[in-house]
């Protein structure tokens, strides 16, 4: 058996608390590999069960995210096998490269970007927020929104692209300002 650090045992409440704390970071990582929300959710659930089963391997709380990401990576790659028959995807080699790059990003960076995004999102009007969130809603689409607003879907897609650029710029600026 791999040797384990003495005196470190992850109890059920500890495990769940770590999972809650780092779930956004794990979800962001899974999203970079799997362009399908249902399969991202499945990957996360499967990974959580595996993490629970193998929690005795964890040697410290600090090692949770890197360890969890490795478990999640395998689950995501498995989900991609399902997805590949349904839609065009980046090559395995490129996805591996992106996965490795994603793994090298620190938890602090991920948290800071999440915080920046929420601050930036609050700066948009309610109408624009609704458009920004439309592609990620499970109950309405950009096309539904266009119908309701009596606009063409094409014009709304163009607006969405512009808003997304603005949001990305805002996040970048906030991160840069934070770094200074």
């Amino acid at each position: 058996m791999p040797k384990q650090a003495p005196n470190f045992q992850l109890t059920e409440p500890d495990f769940l608390s770590l999972l809650v704390k780092h779930e956004p970071a794990l979800r962001a990582y899974a999203r970079s590999l799997v362009p399908d929300w249902d399969l991202v959710d499945e990957s996360l659930q499967e990974a959580s069960v595996t993490m629970w089963q193998k929690r005795s391997q964890l040697e410290s709380v600090d090692g949770f995210v890197p360890w969890a990401i490795v478990v999640l990576r395998f689950k995501c790659l498995r989900q991609l096998e399902k997805l590949r028959s349904r839609r065009p995807l980046l090559s395995d080699e490129m996805l591996e490269k992106l996965a490795e790059r994603g793994e090298s990003r620190s938890v602090e960076e991920l948290t800071a970007r999440g915080r920046a995004l929420h601050t930036c999102l609050d700066q948009f009007s309610e109408e624009h927020r609704e458009i920004l969130l439309a592609p990620h809603s499970s109950t309405y689409t950009v096309v539904d929104l266009a119908k309701r607003r009596k606009k063409s879907p094409n014009s709304l897609y163009k607006l969405l692209a512009r808003l997304r650029e603005q949001l990305t710029d805002c996040v970048r600026l906030r991160i840069a300002a934070g770094a200074k």
């Binding site: 970079s32 309610e126 809603s137 996040v171």
Partner: protein
């Protein structure tokens, strides 16, 4: 189309074949764009969470109503996200509970082993021949057969008296326990093939733990030992205490004390004296014919014969010319050859054990490199793996490295890969390193079971980078 737009289309699942191809090309040559891709994926994940938070507190979807449903208040947003996370955790807890309940033998009254950790595909056949691959940590099982299906599989289980057993690699064991009227239990393990490592608590007097292999029978009163059984031979290494071994071929018996090992073979009926643990070496070269555990050994001479037969059948050669060519190459040294990967449920597979060819333990050092030569006849990535045991006994871990398709570019399908030990990672313990442990077996597995791979040489070298010519 701009790169950022391509990324967004891709992440939303709206990109066409051409667009994905275009994105791949741009990402390949631009590391900054790779970071941008990761950033966009991250923003997507946060936006998704924000979009979903409109429903966690029972609000109506944004599109259906003019009522403000996604509130700009960050406090409320945070509250809703926290609720989402709690819901996620509840789902996970429920899954864990369901998973644990899925073990079919939970209520069996004769459960006497508990799984404490596992990795990779493992199949369990319990009482009545019920088969499951859904074993989980904490599952309690009665007697039955455990089969490890992958070269990187391992499982650790515990008896009621806290004696522990670890099985690794392609191994199969049947576990039984018999209890007498005085409630004294005698455990027995029937190891058909593979590696087994056990740490056995003192057993009741007259009731030693028994380990049966095709070539030997072991009696264990309380000790730590490793057993490997391959075809007709069993290798026992005792790390603590003492184990009594009986060779089945002739009934010869021997007591093996701590730090000694012995091999019991059905073929070799000569002396069976335990030998002291030898000083480890840091290099190893496979003897493919002797070392192969999984894979098809083919001698070069046999291959030549097959090629000549094909040439005669296709009319390229006369039978007389083929015979002359065959006789010219024929010699009594049939050790030259290769091992072909055999298909398995988890890819085409070759496994080599170090036991037959390594006369001393093989230590994995910081500068160790694994060099593999062979031929690959299909477009496939390869995973190369090592099994390591601690120098004082017991399983240390399974480490593997992935070799991409692009690495196989040699002429005539030939390849040579040279991997530093730092490339090898343990999936279950990413921070772990094999350095300082001993190599016990080597394997390689392809992505698909139909892939054709031939291994011609495997060696472990130990040369610091600056000393290389």
């Amino acid at each position: 189309m701009e790169s950022n737009e391509l990324i967004r289309q891709y992440l939303l699942g709206m990109a066409s074949d051409e667009q994905v191809h275009e994105l791949e090309g741009r990402l390949r040559s631009d590391e900054q764009l790779q970071d941008e891709f990761l950033l966009q994926a991250e923003l997507d994940a946060h936006l998704r969470q924000e979009a979903q938070s409109g429903f966690a507190d029972g609000n109506q979807p944004v599109a259906d109503t003019h009522v403000r449903t996604i509130t700009p208040s960050s406090n409320n947003s945070t509250r809703v996200q926290t609720m989402n996370r709690v819901l996620f955790v509840i789902a996970v807890v429920a899954l864990i509970a369901v998973f644990s309940q899925a073990i079919p033998f939970r209520e069996h009254k004769h459960e006497f082993i508990t799984i404490t950790s596992l990795s990779g595909p493992v199949e369990w056949t319990g009482d009545g021949g019920r088969v499951t691959e859904h074993l989980a940590v904490g599952a309690r099982l009665p007697g039955g057969t455990m089969e490890l299906l992958g070269p990187d599989s391992w499982i650790n289980f515990e008896f009621q008296d806290q004696s522990t057993v670890t099985l690794t690699g392609l191994s199969e064991v049947t576990i039984t326990a018999q209890q007498d009227r005085a409630s004294k239990q005698q455990k027995a393990l029937h190891l058909k093939h593979g590696h087994l490592s056990a740490s056995v608590r003192p057993q009741p007097s007259g009731y030693p733990m028994l380990v049966h292999t095709p070539s030997a029978e072991l009696k264990v009163l309380g000790t730590q030992f490793d057993v490997e059984t391959v075809l007709e031979a069993t290798r026992l290494t005792v790390n603590e205490g003492r184990v009594h071994l009986k060779r089945l071929a002739d009934g010869k018996e021997v007591d093996v004390p701590a730090r000694q090992s012995v091999t019991a073979s059905l073929e070799d009926g000569n002396g069976m004296s335990p030998s002291e643990r030898k000083t480890p070496v840091t290099v190893w070269k496979s003897n493919l014919r002797a070392d192969v555990v999984r894979g098809k050994w083919t001698s070069d001479l046999w291959m030549l014969g097959a090629q000549l037969k094909r040439a005669v059948a296709s009319g390229e050669m006369t039978e007389a010319a083929a015979l002359i060519a065959y006789k010219k190459s024929a010699n009594f040294d049939d050790t030259a050859g290769s091992v072909w990967a055999l298909p398995s449920a988890h890819g085409a597979l070759v496994v080599l054990s170090l036991r037959p060819s390594a006369r001393q333990p093989v230590l994995l050092t910081e500068h160790a490199r694994v060099r593999v030569r062979g031929r690959v006849y299909s477009r496939t990535a390869l995973r190369v793996g090592l099994s390591a045991y601690r120098h004082d006994g017991g399983f240390a871990g399974k480490y593997s490295a992935r070799v991409e398709t692009e690495e196989f570019t040699g002429a005539d399908n030939e390849f040579e890969i040279d991997l530093p030990l730092s490339c090898f990672r343990d999936e279950n313990n990413p921070a772990g390193s094999p350095v300082g442990n001993e190599l016990v077996d080597w394997w390689c597995v392809t992505e698909t079971s139909s892939a054709k791979v031939e291994i011609t040489s495997v060696e472990l070298t130990d040369t610091p980078e600056q000393d290389k010519p």
